[in-house]
Structure formats: C-alpha cells, structure tokens
C-alpha cells in the first residue's frame, strides 16, 4: 500500500521514464558538478561544438613540434619509422576540390593523415586528447592550435605565417584536401540516423553443387617467407589431430615417425641485475622508441651498449645524453630531453654501460 502522495509520485514516475529510473535505484549515482564535466568533456565535434577559445601560429607550432612530435613523426611529419606518415600525397588542386586525387592511385605508397582526414576538428581533438603519444593531454590549448596549424602548413593547407584560432578554424575546414572524400552510404551503421539504411553492398548466394569456381591457387606465401611469423611448430598445441609445421625446414619435407616438437614452457624471468633498469624502461616508455636489439626510432639498447663499451666515462656520458636529449649520433630524428630523477638516470646509464642485459 502507498499513501496517496506516494501513489501519485509513482504514477508520475512511470509516465516519465527518467524519474522512474531515479526512483527505482535510489542511492545510485549523483549529479556531476560543472567543474567535473568541464574536466572530462574535451571532445570537439565537426561543427566545432566543444572547441575552446584560443590561437596558435605555425611558427609556435614548429617549436612545439620539434621538441615533442618530431621524435616520432619526423621534423616534417613525413617519417614512416614509427607511425604512418602524417604529411604528403595532397596537392593544391585537392585543396580546391576537397577530394584527394592520389587516393585513386593504387601505386602511391601509403595513405597519410592529411590525405584521409575530412574534418579539421578531428585533427584538433586527436592532438588535444592523445598527443604527444607518450605524454597525452600535456599540451596547452594554444599549443594544440599551434601544432595543428604547423601540421596543416606542412601540407600547404595554411600559409607559413598563419595563426589558427577558434575564430578562423571553420575557414581552414573549407581548405581541407579530403573534406569531400567520405561517405556514409553503406549498410554498416547499425542505426537509422545516418541517412537511408541501404542493403548490404556485397551479395553472395549459397551454391551447393557443381558451383562455378576454378579452385586454382592464385596467392600463397612464398617459401622464403615461410618462417616470417616464427617457427609455426612452436605455435600449435602438442596434442590433437595435427601439429604445427616446422617452418625452419623446407616445405613438403614429410616427417617419418612421430612428431617430436619440444614444448617450451614459458620461463620465469631470471632474477638479474637488469630488473630495475628494465622496469624503468617501461615506466618511462623508453621502449616506445628504442628496441632491445634493433633500431626503432632511436638505436637499440644493445647497439648503444656496444658503441660505448670501451669508454671509461660511458656511464656519465650516457646519463647526460638521456637527460639532455640529442640528435645526429644515430640519425636525424631527435631524442627529446628526458628529465628523470638522477637515481633513475644512473640506473639506466649503468645498465647501458654494462651491456644492456635484456633479462
């Protein structure tokens, strides 16, 4: 039973779903404060809803770029070493038409960000929320404008003396090379909100007998690539109807007798002096740019260890290089300064100077 007040309240609640839910689950959730919403609601829509006021010039953007972006993307956004290139493949004609002609050229290698992006809000939002890659959300609003402007200037979309702001970003949108290059006319949006729902574009039928097909192999991995993904014998279960094929051997080499692939139970990491340094590599995301053995963006740790193996001052020298950053020793892509605590610098430098053991 309920009092008449409660009954009416319940009735009203049923009529307005929102309040009904609020009454169904008392004590769950609370209103968000304005400051909380402001702290997290950072998205910028294509109509620029959510874009904060601010401005930044191409020149300011270049400074930020060279300090914080070039180490992954190259000084001119052209680098292919870590991520797909950001810049390249767009023309002055594309800026006029809003369609990137090279997207029709299957011989053009890769697709750069400026070839693909159709809304400038996306670039702004991307940089603001997720860049720099190892320190996302660390740029100030004006820096985000500046970096966006610098990136666009590399593609000739804005002039070198341009200052981008919330007031003129809509004009920049009108110059984006691929602004007319997207479509939502497909059947893969599971809602009705993006225009007419179209039927699936690929229509197959389920033929069962004497179907019109020529089972001729048109593509397979060449023998030299057999072991590219590692020895497949070590990637298959050791019991059951089949085993993994030993790709360290030539194809077709049929085995005699039972397969005798060794199981390789994963080894517990050996305790060694390297453990603190290895933990720091993770903590400071060093491995984003350096491989253990091989060059990624910067040199592999073993390569560094080998280079400085004979130097008496290797430890101090390397600590200094990590702290100050540098460019030119291993190639043109700069390493940003890494202001780590001295103790951590010492651990890393000692580890490098003594051979960079990987376990």
């Amino acid at each position: 039973m309920c009092s008449w007040r409660e009954c009416i309240a319940a009735l009203v609640g049923v009529m307005a779903l929102g309040s009904a839910a609020a009454q169904t689950y008392p004590g769950i959730g609370r209103p968000a404060t304005k400051a909380e919403v402001a702290a997290w609601d950072i998205d910028v829509r294509p109509d620029f809803k959510g874009l904060p006021k601010g401005s930044g010039s191409v020149g300011q953007g270049q400074e930020v770029w060279e300090a914080k972006c070039a180490s992954c993307h190259g000084v001119f956004g052209e680098s292919n070493e870590v991520f797909m290139p950001l810049v390249g493949g767009t023309t002055a004609e594309d800026i006029k038409t809003g369609r990137v002609a090279r997207l029709n050229d299957s011989t053009f290698p890769g697709r750069t960000t400026l070839m693909k992006v159709s809304t400038v809000s996306t670039l702004w939002d991307y940089i603001n929320r997720a860049m720099p890659w190892n320190a996302p959300k660390s740029l100030k609003t004006d820096e985000v404008y500046a970096v966006t402007a610098y990136l666009l200037s590399l593609g000739g979309i804005v002039p070198d003396d341009f200052t981008m702001s919330d007031a003129n970003i809509a004009d920049v949108q009108k110059r984006l090379p691929n602004r007319n290059g997207v479509t939502t006319a497909h059947a893969m949006w599971p809602g009705k909100s993006l225009g007419k729902a179209s039927p699936p574009d690929v229509k197959a039928t389920a033929c069962m007998h004497d179907c019109d097909t020529e089972p001729k192999v048109a593509s397979l991995l060449p023998d030299f690539a057999r072991n590219n993904n590692g020895n497949l014998a070590e990637q298959q279960r050791l019991v059951g109807p089949q085993r993994g094929v030993d790709t360290t051997r030539p194809p077709g080499a049929r085995r005699e007798g039972p397969i005798t692939v060794a199981a390789t139970p994963s080894q517990a990491p050996a305790a060694s002096g390297a453990a603190p340094a290895l933990a720091l590599l993770k903590k400071y995301s060093c491995t984003a740019c350096h491989g253990m053995e091989q060059k990624l963006v910067g040199p592999g740790f073993k390569q560094i260890a080998a280079k400085y193996a004979g130097r008496g001052d290797a430890q101090d020298h390397l600590a200094g290089k990590i702290k100050a950053g540098g460019q030119g020793v291993w190639g043109p892509i700069p390493m940003p300064a890494q202001p780590l605590p001295d103790a951590d610098l010492k651990t890393l430098a000692t580890w490098l100077a003594t051979g960079a053991a990987s376990r």
């Binding site: 929102g18 997207l103 599971p190 001729k216 491995t287």
Partner: protein, 460 residues
Amino acid sequence: MSATPDIPSPSGRLRKAPESFLTPDGVRTVFAEAKQGRRDFVRGAFAAALTGAVAGSAAAQAPVAATEGDANILTLPEHSKGLGQAVVTDGYGKPSKYEANVQRRQSPGLTQTTQASVSFAPLQSLFGIVTPSGLHFERHHQGWWDIDPSRHRLMVNGSGDKLLKRPMVFTMDELMRLPSVSRFHFIECGANTGMEWGNVAVPTCQYTHGMLSCSEFTGVPLRVLFDLAGVDYKRARYVLAEGADGSSMTRTVPMELVESGEVLVAYGQNGEMLRPEQGYPLRLVVPGVQGVSWVKYLRRLEVGDQPYGTKDETIHYIDLMPGGLHRQYTSTQECKSVVTTPSGGQVLLDKGYYQISGLAWSGRGKVKRVDVTTDGGRNWRTARLQDPVMSKCLTRFTLDWQWDGKPAVLQSRASDDTGYVQPSARQLRAVRGTRSIYHNNAIQSWLVEESGEVRNVQLA
C-alpha cells in the same frame, strides 16, 4: 631439468619403442625381477627410463617393436604411483605446461611499437566458442593500464543542456549494485583479416583471423544509466563513448543499439572481472559492432544530436573504396566464418578421419547455416552447428571428413538470419576493391598438401 617432454605416438598405435626407454628384454627382466621381489631394482630401472625420456636423451638403445603393447600402458607412469601436488599450489591456476605453445602473438612487422599494436588470439587451438580471458586478442593504441577500481568513475553527460536532465557520475561500487545481465558476444577488430585484402600475407588463422574473441560479459544495460540521467531519446540519437587511458579512445554509437538494451557497461568477463588488457575495470560492450567501439577503461558517455567525427572514425577505421571515397562510421561486423582446424601452419599426422571445425559469426544476428567445401568451392556440405547458437556471438561448426591423402582446399561459408551470405574474396573485391583495410569478411581457403601441410591460399 630440461623442458622437453616426451611426445608419445599421436595415434596411440603401437610403434617402435622410443629411444631411451626399456627394450622388451628390459621390460621382461624388470617384470621378472619384480616378481622375485627385487623392488629396488624395479624402482631404479623405471626412474632411469623416466629420466631419459624427460631429458630427451638419445641414449642409444636400439628401438625394437613393442610386441607386448604400448609402453605408456605397460609401464605405469610416475603420476599413477606417486603423490601429486597440493591444493593452492597456485592460487590462480594456469594451463598445463604442455600448453605453452598456445599463446597470443604479435605479427612481425605489423607495428613498430608495442604499445600501439595488436596481439592475435590462437584460434587454431581453441575449442567451443569462449576465448579464455588470458588469450583474448589485444589492441592497444597507447598501451594498457591496470586501473584502481576504487578511483575509477563513469560520467554521463550531454553535448547540450537539452539532451538530458542531469549529468551524472557513478562509482564502480554503484555500477556493480545495479541489476546486471550476462551475455555471450564476439568482439572482432574491424581490421581483422585486413592484411589479406590483396593477397596472402600471413601463414596461420591466428594471424588471419585472430583479432577475434568471444566472452560472457557481465554488466549493466547502458539504457539504465541513461534513464537515470533523464536522456531525451528523441533529441539524442548518438552516443560518444570515451576511455580514461592516454589515447582516450572515442567512438560514436547509434542510440538504437542502446534503446534495444544490447549495449552494456561491462565489468565482468567469463566469470571474473575484465582483464586489464581488456579495459579493467569498465568497458563498453556493443554487440555486433567492431571492437574499436567497445571502449576500454570507459570513463565517459556523452549523448548528442550529431555524430562526433572522432580520430578513430575520420582518420583511422575508414574503409577506402574504389573511386577514392572513404566509408565513414562503418561499424557492423558482417557475417563471416573460418575453419580453425585443420588450418594454415598445421600438418596432418595421417590419412583418415578428421573433424573439420571452425567458427562463424554475424554482427547482425544469429548464424543460420555454415557450408563447408573440401574441393575449393565446387561442392559444399552443410556443417553441424553446435549449441548454443546465440545472437552476435561465435558459433562453433563441425563436419566429418575423410582425408584421402590428396590435395584438398577447405573453405567455410556462413549465412545469418537476415539472409546475408558470406562472400568469396572475388565477390568482395568486385565491390570494395583491395585497399579497404577494414571489414574483410571473405571466405578463407586452406590448402591441404599431400605432405599433410596446410597452407593459407587465395583462389583465383
């Protein structure tokens, strides 16, 4: 101790005695001695044999036919005669050491960094439809985190004041108090099989199809939270989901899927909490839609009256079509299947009976039928579907097959309850070309060679 276990004859047939085991003469001697009560001798002899086997030593005892029977039967193993290990030897149990080959793996050369990368689930080694949580494929854009659930918050707000009554904040404690549902769904990356649009690029189904997993997810229907916040469903037709990690992944989800009750704010996976690699403590579950929309480390949901054009729907996850247009907001994972055994990189041990087995799924509903061919598509047979067959969930299919030792090309072709039939690569390319990267749901071909080796191939 060496980590080389003895691999017995796979058929269980009597074969030549493995090296380093007892010869029949030795066995007879042991039994004879045993009858005479010389137990020390017996113990010593078996211990020596076991040590030899475990170490894989090639002690040169001439292999002689085991006329008495299978040594694995005749000679009781240590585990039949000794005391096993204690409870709670491991407070969270792990797979057998003999399963060490079953791992998620990276494909070399695909990405330069390990934080913006992907690892593939070993589909060729899995049974049924559930992916063990530790083998679930991974896709991180800026590395993964293990987030303290007591400090994690979920915010619901609107892109304008009129789109909901009140922006709200929920703690994990509160979300886990709400009425929950548990449902089985597949999750597939939109780029799954993306390396194979133009030609064969990778050897096994782990790499061709392993950005696919399936779990029982537990959580709260998102509709419940939107009702609490008083969302105006007439105006708010789009939802933005946003992660709390560095990449703060964002994707637009159509409100229809929320209204249907399908979209979950999930914290549970296969009976435990989500794994950190899968978004612990909270992720969005958007059944039938590509994995990028299942935002991990979910921190915020915004309702709006326009799509958001986020980085992962304007720069990435766009499908290039012939003619140079990119399709934007492609989300649905269309009907697809793959034979997982036998599959690329495996070698069949003998002629005779095999069960062809694989997985089928559709982002539009239930798998209705799977057909399998062993002659490259000329003739097909309808496979058995294993129960349960659930909507937007992996379905296991099987078919009996006698391998006669001759070359064979295995394929599977799924259709769903909307009538959609999985296309061949030729049919798919005729419409979408080869540069789409995303949403390759073509029929997969495996060539079984006379040697028993199975290879990834594409047919003309």
